[in-house]
């Protein structure tokens, strides 16, 4: 195609059109936030793996605490399907098929074809790449079976029977079987009144269950030739299906909830705890526990007689952690707030004055250990530690209006950015009053975030403004157009750095004019001071380093610690202890051995 470069007059419109299309594609690509749980895989080890639609969204937990963690090193590709073969996980993604090595240390790419469907049984696997027919996978090698009878509609569900027979099903394709040694797919049974099969499950006793779109649930017992419609299930859209090993218990996701049967599908009852919740994946683990994953990325587990929500995904993200001088901790995790009065004590859940899902929430602790909590919709509140009651934080906060970022600065002074005006405020500890911070005489700057860097440097920034504080100096201000990439940092020479789109600016110590410069690595971001005078700082490339300041004002790295989980990170230190919140929990650093201890608050 030569059109885009055929003539000069066309070049500019075509380029503009290209850019517009690219922008639209990028916008569309960036707009997706939901993390539906695509698949629940009870492993032969007794653990359960959970696959979400997010890139790298593979989680795993084992009993008895069922503490889900993101599987480290999982391919950073959008997942599609998950299976287990010979105690090894096989992950199908939009950009290829991966197998976890037997020592579970890394992933091997088996194929670069986008995976459409995947199923394994023992050493036998079947993979269907998008746009192609099913292929056998054995010992990492593919062998496309030369078979006839594939339907026009693609097969999207596969199960492999113990005898090697392969069952396939799909929307509009019905259920077909490829017997071992046969070269033709053949329809399974008769009487399947609806060929729009969304879910196919094979019980250990050979009973097939087919959940359809619009026709309900069908069952075909071994030896029978005709599908039986399970009319006791008062739902016609079965989007997910699970059958216990003995075939007696059946779970069916019906779009707006789950139905369960204890007699092999003859009679059904609604699961009240999951009423109205769209469930995408269901499973029974090896111990017969039932699991359900939802469109909203929530995970449920049947515990005794009732279904309970298992902590998973967003529930485990530590948004912020703040320490009290006495060693106490406050943790904002998921949509809950926890407190630990002192190291080793039990976690307590703190009731909050507003739901923590109402706006972007932040917290800070002042010099005397009082907790401040606010959100972009709610002004800062202060917790009375004696009564446990929440009150207004202090006078002087311009109302109405929430707070965008609460941070504890040097000497325990609390700072906050007004959510509406973008103005930086400081809580004066002597007057117990919020006062606007005078920033270089500039007014009307819209700030969004605030961070404390090594050496007591403070930076706050917004889309077009950057303000900074050097120890012993007043706040400075610079206006940058389109400061989208924000998050300024400090380098080992004490220079401040920030990015404006593709250009980089630096501010040398003692100067007040930013220079267009080339970036220098590493850049240190959020930092905390340790009792020995050193500082721990997070780097741009997600390391945690201990810094010692030289006499000339520069820094030198002494130790580096690999964070125990994926970002985003929340860092604090108290009484010589360092705490780091990650995507899936809270961890305490053992500075001697450089190891981490999981201290995530229990559910």
């Amino acid at each position: 195609m030569v059109f885009p470069t055929a003539s000069v007059p066309l070049r500019y419109p075509v380029t503009a059109l290209r850019l517009a299309m690219l922008s639209m594609l990028l916008l569309c690509a960036g707009a997706v936030q939901a993390q539906p749980i695509l698949s629940l895989l009870p492993e032969s080890t007794g653990c359960v793996s959970v696959l979400t639609s997010q890139a790298g969204g593979l989680y795993r937990a084992c009993g008895p605490d069922w503490r889900f963690r993101r599987v480290a090193g999982a391919p950073d590709a959008l997942p599609v399907a998950l299976a287990e073969s010979h105690r090894s996980l096989i992950l199908g993604t939009r950009t290829g098929l991966y197998q976890r090595s037997s020592d579970q240390t890394g992933w091997q790419r088996l194929s670069d074809q986008p995976t459409g469907a995947l199923a394994c049984h023992g050493a036998r696997c079947v993979v269907r790449p998008f746009g192609q027919g099913p292929q056998r996978l054995s010992d990492g090698r593919f062998s496309p079976p030369q078979v006839r009878g594939l339907p026009d509609q693609p097969l999207q569900q596969f199960v492999i029977a113990g005898d090697g027979a392969l069952y396939g099903a799909g929307m509009g394709a019905g259920v077909l079987r490829l017997k071992p040694g046969s070269d033709a797919w053949q329809p399974v049974g008769s009487g399947l009144g609806n060929g729009n099969v969304l879910a196919l499950v094979l019980a250990d006793d050979g009973t097939l269950h087919a959940g359809t779109y619009g026709g309900g649930l069908y069952r075909l017992r071994p030896g029978e030739v005709r599908w039986q419609r399970l009319s006791g299930l008062q739902a016609v859209k079965v989007t997910a299906l699970a059958v216990s090993a003995d075939g007696s218990r059946v779970l069916a996701g019906v779009g707006d909830g789950v139905r369960e049967s204890w007699d092999g599908g003859d009679s059904w009852r609604k699961v009240p705890e999951l009423a109205g919740i769209p469930v995408l994946s269901l499973a029974f683990d090896g111990a017969g526990r039932a699991w359900a994953g939802t469109r909203e990325g929530r995970l449920y587990r049947r515990q005794g007689e009732e279904w309970v929500r298992a902590r998973f995904g967003n529930d485990l993200i530590v948004h912020q952690v703040a320490s009290v001088g006495s060693g106490g901790l406050f943790v904002l995790m998921g949509d809950r707030l926890y407190r630990r009065p002192h190291p080793g004590a039990d976690w307590q859940r703190i009731e909050t004055p507003f739901p923590l899902t109402d706006g972007s929430v932040s917290l800070a602790v002042d010099a005397v250990g009082r907790l401040y909590l606010g959100s972009t919709r709610h002004p800062p509140r202060r917790l009375d530690s004696r009564t446990g009651e929440w009150g207004m934080s202090a006078s002087g906060w311009p109302g109405p209006g929430g707070v965008r970022a609460l941070r504890t600065g040097p000497e325990g002074v609390v700072y906050g950015i007004h959510a509406d005006t973008g103005q930086l405020h400081r809580l004066d500890p002597e007057q117990d009053r919020w006062t606007p911070v005078e920033v270089g005489g500039a007014l009307g700057h819209q700030l969004r975030n605030l961070r404390w860097l090594p050496g007591g440097h403070g930076v706050a920034w917004g889309p077009n403004d950057l303000v900074w504080l050097r120890p012993g100096e007043p706040w400075g201000h610079s206006r940058f157009a389109q400061l989208e990439r924000g998050a300024p940092g400090l380098d080992a020479d004490g220079m401040l750095w920030t990015r404006r789109q593709v250009t980089v600016f630096s501010l040398a110590p003692g100067e007040d004019r930013w220079r267009d410069d080339a970036i220098r690595h590493p850049l240190y971001g959020e930092a905390v001071v340790l009792t020995d005078g050193t500082e721990l700082a997070l780097t741009e490339d997600d390391r945690l380093v201990r810094l010692r300041r030289r006499e000339d004002g520069t820094w030198v790295e002494r130790n580096a610690y690999a964070p125990p989980g994926p970002p985003p990170y929340a860092l604090t230190a108290a009484g010589g202890r360092v705490y780091l919140g990650t995507l899936d929990g809270l961890h305490e650093l053992d500075p001697v051995h450089g190891t981490w201890r999981d201290i995530t608050p229990p559910h």
Partner: protein, 436 residues
């Protein structure tokens, strides 16, 4: 009058026929079967075809950044949460034999009463089975190329109507009408052609204007412009020729008539033959001039154009134009001769113009004038003839404006033997009239 009336009726009937033949249905429902499995597959399978605007790598990168959705979620996402489920019943019979990509139905034939703006996703239940369709209410004007013509143009389905129209047209055209010499003249024909043009394109333009209130395709707007211009052209033509036709009628009635001669058949045939040669000779001279210019310009393009291919195209177009002009130069005199031979061998000569058989020349219109008139006595026993030259203003449009020039026409008027003296007097009158 009957001839004019016939022209108007035929033009309007033709316009009505064209309108009805083409007139699109008000609304149709496009019904497409939905194969969700294949749609889901297309969403995630790598694309084979590249876009002309984005490189395939960029597209693939974007597609790979689209999270996977299970089938039920995909359907939910595609239908926007709403899928109408209806019992197959009567409607399923409407789809019997539907094996193409889509079918079109009248709105009252589909089981949805409230037409939406966009798509309606329909699940057609037949017992336990569900078939999926998507429906879209479409103005057929937008999709004329896609819709079977019988559905897009509902009036085509009435053979009786078309038979009636055909009969009326044949009757109207075959109706024997006795033409007077004035009605048979080129001026009357020009006036009738102008009226026909006006009454054919004016209704079409009005219908197009009315259709443009719907979401009409570009062709409708083009028809408004072109039809409007042609209707206007017809009006102007009818007015010009109508005025001249009125003059001719007055002339033939004796008003301003200087001479009225009846020619012998032999002299008439001889005159017609000579006039054809003369006319052809004049036209050939112009053709040669145009051909020489075309050759020079064409060769220039072939030899000097930076793009040799484009130069050859220009030369080819010029050659074609010369060939077309040559055909016209050769055939037009033959056509004129044929018409003149069918006409009454009479000459009406007046101060404002002359009519020789069916062929009238009028020189007192806007910008026209008689340039010269002289009597040419016949040699070797041939009859005398009057040679007239008149001119009219012509305009040529170029990129910079309109150039007006004077175009001269030579007319030879046969003089019957023995009428030379009368002819002398006529010339004197003409010259006197020209001098006024």
């Amino acid at each position: 009058m009957l001839l004019v009336f016939r022209s108007l009726i035929v033009a309007m009937l033709l316009a009505l026929s064209v309108t009805l033949w083409w007139y699109p249905a008000a609304t149709l429902v496009m019904v497409e079967p939905v194969a969700w499995g294949q749609l889901h597959e297309q969403q995630y399978a790598p694309r084979q075809r590249a876009s002309p605007f984005l490189s395939s790598a960029v597209i693939e990168q974007s597609r790979q950044s689209r999270p996977f959705m299970p089938m039920a979620e995909f359907i939910q996402n595609q239908v926007g949460g709403a899928m109408l489920e209806v019992e197959a019943g009567e409607w399923s019979r409407e789809l019997t034999g539907f094996d193409g990509d889509r079918t079109w139905m009248a709105p009252d034939r589909v089981p949805v009463t409230d037409p939406p703006r966009g798509w309606v996703h329909l699940a057609l239940r037949d017992g336990e089975a569900l078939d999926f369709y998507r429906l879209q209410w479409v103005d057929p004007l937008q999709r004329l190329g896609d819709i079977p013509s019988a559905q897009a143009h509902p009036f085509r389905g009435f053979p009786l109507l078309w038979a009636c129209v055909g009969i009326v047209l044949v009757v109207m055209l075959a109706l024997p009408v006795r033409e007077s010499p004035a009605q048979a003249s080129n001026l009357a024909r020009g006036m009738r052609a102008g009226l026909g043009l006006l009454f054919f394109f004016l209704p079409l333009t009005l219908v197009s204007l009315w259709l443009s209130q719907r979401s009409a395709p570009d062709a409708v707007y083009a028809l408004i412009v072109i039809g409007g211009m042609l209707a206007l052209t017809g009006l102007v033509t009818a007015l010009i020729f109508g005025r001249q036709y009125a003059w001719l009628r007055r002339l033939m009635a004796g008003e301003g008539l200087l001479a009225h001669w009846q020619l012998a058949p032999e002299q008439w045939r001889d005159f017609v033959q000579r006039d054809m040669r003369r006319s052809r000779g004049e036209k050939l001279a112009r053709l040669v001039m145009v051909a020489v210019m075309a050759v020079v310009v064409g060769l220039g393009f072939v030899l000097f154009a930076p793009d040799r291919g484009a130069g050859l195209v220009v030369a080819g177009v010029l050659t074609g134009m010369v060939v077309l002009l040559a055909l016209i130069v050769l055939l037009m005199p033959l056509w004129t001769r044929r018409r003149l031979l069918q006409a009454l061998p009479q000459v009406w000569l007046g101060l404002e113009g002359v009519c020789i058989g069916h062929q009238a020349h009028h020189w007192s219109g806007l910008g026209s004038r008689l340039e010269s008139a002289r009597l040419q006595r016949g040699k070797q026993g041939r009859p005398a003839r009057i040679e007239l030259t008149y001119s009219g203003l012509r305009g040529v449009s170029s990129g910079r404006g309109v150039y007006v020039y004077r175009d001269q026409q030579n007319v030879v008027v046969p003089v019957p033997p023995g009428k030379e003296a009368e002819a002398e007097g006529v010339i004197a009158r003409l010259r006197a009239g020209r001098g006024k």
